[in-house]
């Protein structure tokens, strides 16, 4: 079967402890990024030299280099035109998605072909959101390496549960550019529940209310004895504290009047953020806005502020109530509700959430750090082993376009992942040799109201009368929430040729170019990863042969045994070197030499089964 991957397939190399760096958890946030590491189920947030855990997700592209975090934030005042913030909101977004925002976004968009990925224009540079995110991840990686004194090359990276496929793929690509192998993409609320559940030994049905800078997620989980089962999830991939800032900034700019350019918007937003933070603890804020040498004074009280942000908060409550109703869970019956995300510090948010569940929400783990802590715990679980089990779901339904622009759902939202569903298609006209399949994600009935993920062209369908071919298309969502599609014509066994055009992703050419340009991924580095992968496969092969010898060596003559031992030794010799081809050749040779041995073992197994014995009774 021909596999066609919308996403980079699991190209992740196979780690072997002595050749691998450390694995961390990274919360790649809209406003801030946090990195943490866990050892023996205790997670620690990694801080910079001055003790700060939060790495502002801000990047400044200066002529003399790239700045990330606090230095980039300072650049905002000097050279606002070079600074990018809140890039997460553009991950996996198309040009069409953001067209409505021209002039409002705090950065300039580069003109791009219709339907492609968004590109930012900063001076002479044109950047994709993937590249900007990669720069933030590189800074997080360096921070961890500086603090831990070791190479860090693997990570669990968190994404909003409500991130669609395009945004997840973009995140994965960004990590790859930054030289990080993604062990798993984990949903932010799930990571928070993991951190909370493991810390407090919580059991029962919990909700996670996650309001970050740019995304909102509400998830329901069942926690019991090390199992974290997501029951339902909902949210909005573009709703968060940024909206509060925008509302305040719009008011400030309106009070001022006059012409406003992109740099003014950035400064107004920065001032708005200060006002918001002040109004979280104070009843009134006063400040000035200095734009283009003209000063204006502003005053905002708590009541006015809450009036400005109330529509956004109400929307989060409506989404939360919807998830609870869909799952048939009474909000008052929850064992607890965990608050995640810096925006949950806003008093109005806490009041409204408390009113929803009829009690005070839980916030005893720092809402800014809890997601990174969960990601670090999962990174340790994946690399060192663990008894905890995370069972997550697809946040959005996956479907295909049918006649009349309607959507036929293939995989319903809130289905546990990994999941695979197959659908059969047939032709419309006699002799038809190709067909187009349009994959979309979303809950609406019409294609144009859902998000377009990809268009596939199935080609090479054998000529038959209309309706005769049986083309089986399989849609699979893996544990990272990423989609893969494969296709096969069933009646003739002919594999349909499929062409994938991700609607908002990077093309393979673009990805290859970026990888070439990135220092972390010079050609030698790719080769090294492939070598590591080949070695792990070869070691696993030797292990399997050794186990078989321990069980059934009596099936071999002394000469045959010696021959196998010699082949093992040759693989081991190759393993001590750095030649990938030599490793693969020696492993293939071992497999060939052991083939007659495997056949005799099968014969013995079949005879034993016929004699009515179970194989495990033979002490194998």
């Amino acid at each position: 079967m021909k596999l066609l991957q919308i996403h980079e397939p699991g190209e992740t190399p196979l780690p072997h402890e002595d050749e691998r760096g450390l694995a961390v958890g990274i919360d790649l946030g809209t406003t801030n990024t946090v990195v943490a590491i866990a050892t023996n189920q205790k997670a620690e947030v990694i801080r910079d030299a001055t003790g700060r855990a939060l790495l502002p997700s801000i990047v400044a592209y200066r002529d003399d280099g790239v700045l990330v975090g606090e230095p980039a934030r300072r650049e905002l005042l000097e050279n606002p035109g070079t600074v990018v913030s809140s890039i997460k909101r553009l991950m996996g977004r198309g040009v069409e998605d953001v067209k409505a925002l021209a002039g409002v976004l705090p950065y300039e968009l580069a003109p791009a072909a219709e339907g492609g990925m968004v590109r930012l224009k900063l001076g002479d540079r044109v950047l994709t959101p993937v590249e900007v995110s990669a720069d933030i991840l590189r800074a997080a990686k360096s921070r961890a390496e500086a603090a831990l004194g070791r190479n860090v090359d693997r990570a669990v990276i968190t994404v909003p549960a409500y991130f669609d496929d395009a945004a997840r793929t973009a995140t994965r690509d960004a990590a790859r550019l930054a030289g990080l192998e993604v062990l798993r993409l984990v949903n932010e609320p799930t990571a928070a529940a993991l951190a909370y559940g493991l810390d407090k030994a919580a059991e029962g049905i919990y909700a996670v209310y996650d309001l970050g800078g740019g995304t909102f997620d509400f998830s329901l989980l069942r926690l019991e004895k090390g199992v974290f089962q997501v029951l339902a999830t909902g949210g909005d991939a573009a709703l968060g504290g940024d909206d509060f800032d925008h509302a305040i900034a719009a008011r400030l700019l309106a009070e001022r009047g006059g012409f406003v350019d992109g740099g003014d918007v950035k400064l107004a937003l920065a001032t708005a953020r200060l006002a918001k933070e002040c109004l979280t603890t104070q009843d009134e804020w006063q400040g000035t806005l200095d734009l283009g040498g003209r000063l204006s004074h502003h005053r905002l009280d708590r009541v006015t502020f809450e009036g400005l942000i109330e529509p956004f908060v109400d929307r989060t409550i409506a989404i939360s109530r919807g998830v609870l109703e869909d799952a048939g869970v009474d909000p008052k019956s929850l064992s607890g509700l965990v608050l995640v995300g810096g925006s949950t510090r806003v008093p109005l948010v806490r009041r409204k959430v408390a009113a929803l569940i009829g009690r005070e929400p839980l916030a005893d783990i720092d809402p800014d750090e809890v997601v990174a802590v969960g990601a670090a715990l999962q990174a340790e679980a994946l690399t060192a082993g663990s008894d905890t089990l995370l069972l997550d779901v697809t946040p959005l339904s996956l479907g295909i376009e049918t006649m009349g622009g309607l959507v036929e759902k293939i995989i319903e939202r809130n289905t546990p992942i990994p999941v695979a569903k197959a659908q059969e298609f047939t032709t419309f006209q006699d002799g038809q040799s190709a067909m187009m399949i349009h994959v979309v994600q979303g809950e609406r009935e019409m294609v144009d109201q859902c998000r377009s993920l990809a268009r596939f062209e199935l080609r090479g369908i054998p000529p038959m009368v209309a309706g005769a071919p049986r083309i089986r298309v399989t849609f699979a969502v893996d544990a990272d929430g990423l989609l893969t599609v494969s296709a096969r014509e069933k009646t003739t066994g002919v594999e349909a040729h499929v062409e994938v055009k991700p609607s908002y992703g990077l093309s393979e050419d673009e990805m290859a170019r970026m990888l070439r340009e990135s220092i972390e991924h010079a050609r030698e580095d790719m080769e090294r990863r492939l070598l590591v992968e080949a070695k792990v496969e070869a070691r696993r092969g030797i292990g399997a042969v050794r186990s078989a010898l321990a069980a059934d060596a009596d099936l071999l003559s002394r000469e045959e045994l010696a021959e196998i031992e010699a082949a093992i030794a040759r693989v081991e010799t190759a393993l001590s070197g750095h030649d990938r081809d030599a490793v693969n050749a020696a492993a293939a040779e071992l497999e060939k030499i052991t083939r007659p041995f495997a056949e005799r073992r099968m014969d013995r197994g079949i005879r034993a089964a016929l004699a009515g014995h179970r194989i495990d009774e033979l002490g194998l």
Partner: protein, 225 residues
């Protein structure tokens, strides 16, 4: 979607089947075993029915807590998270296992899906794409639909949902009795009814949502204005 029919073709639940070859060490593995007894490599999912996958008897009556317990126990062994650092092939096999386990769990957990699957196992077709052929059922559903279309307050929607919920519970009891007696005709008839009742509940929920002022489903908003 045709996995199930393919599963049933090759399903043999009578215990002593011939061993299959392990994909890694190529030695014998008992049919249905999750791991190779020799080299411990995870094995691809066995072609068995959803009940057999959890070692449960083929029956409509099912202890949901027991199903959960077995689902968690199996996923603890097979979930891709357990294989994150293993070879690419082992990761792929673990994913196919987890997919099969999730499909079985999703089918058995939902009583309507379970009833339809059981009928399928027994070779009885459900009225998936047909219109209602039972005049009595047709009349009942038309009346309910009309009642639903006249609802204009959230309270009325709540009351309608309560009544529909009671009907669903009663329908489930009827199905359980029919399967218990081995009366597949009655089971099929009531399963069709349950299907329409379930759809009615979904529509009533959507209506309640519209009346309650919340969006029908969380909708992706592009960006702030």
């Amino acid at each position: 979607m045709n996995e199930t029919s393919r599963d049933m073709d090759t399903a043999k639940a009578d215990g002593t089947t011939a061993p299959v070859a392990c994909w890694l060490c190529r030695g014998p593995v008992a049919a249905g075993a999750l791991f190779c007894p020799t080299c411990r490599a995870v094995q691809p999912p066995a072609p068995v029915d959803h009940f057999a996958r959890f070692g449960l008897p083929v029956a409509f009556d099912l202890d949901e807590n027991e199903l959960d317990r077995r689902y968690f126990a199996v996923q603890r062994q097979l979930h891709p998270d357990r294989f994150a650092t293993r070879t690419a092939r082992e990761r792929a096999v673990s994913q196919s296992q987890a997919v099969a386990v999730n499909e079985a769990y999703e089918t058995l957990k939902d009583p309507l899906a379970r009833a339809e699957y059981l009928l399928q196992l027994h070779g009885v077709a459900t009225e998936a794409c047909q219109t209602i052929s039972d005049p009595e059922l047709l009349m009942e559903q038309m009346e309910r639909r009309e009642a639903l279309s006249e609802i204009d307050t959230r309270e009325a929607a709540e009351a309608f949902l309560d009544a529909a919920g009671r009907d669903v519970a009663a329908s489930l009891a009827t199905i359980a009795v029919a399967f218990g007696r081995g009366d597949l005709t009655a089971a099929r008839r009531e399963t069709t009814r349950l299907k329409y009742l379930t759809k009615l509940v979904e529509e009533a929920r959507a209506r309640r949502a519209r009346l309650g002022g919340r969006p029908e489903a969380p909708i992706l908003k592009t960006m702030p204005r």
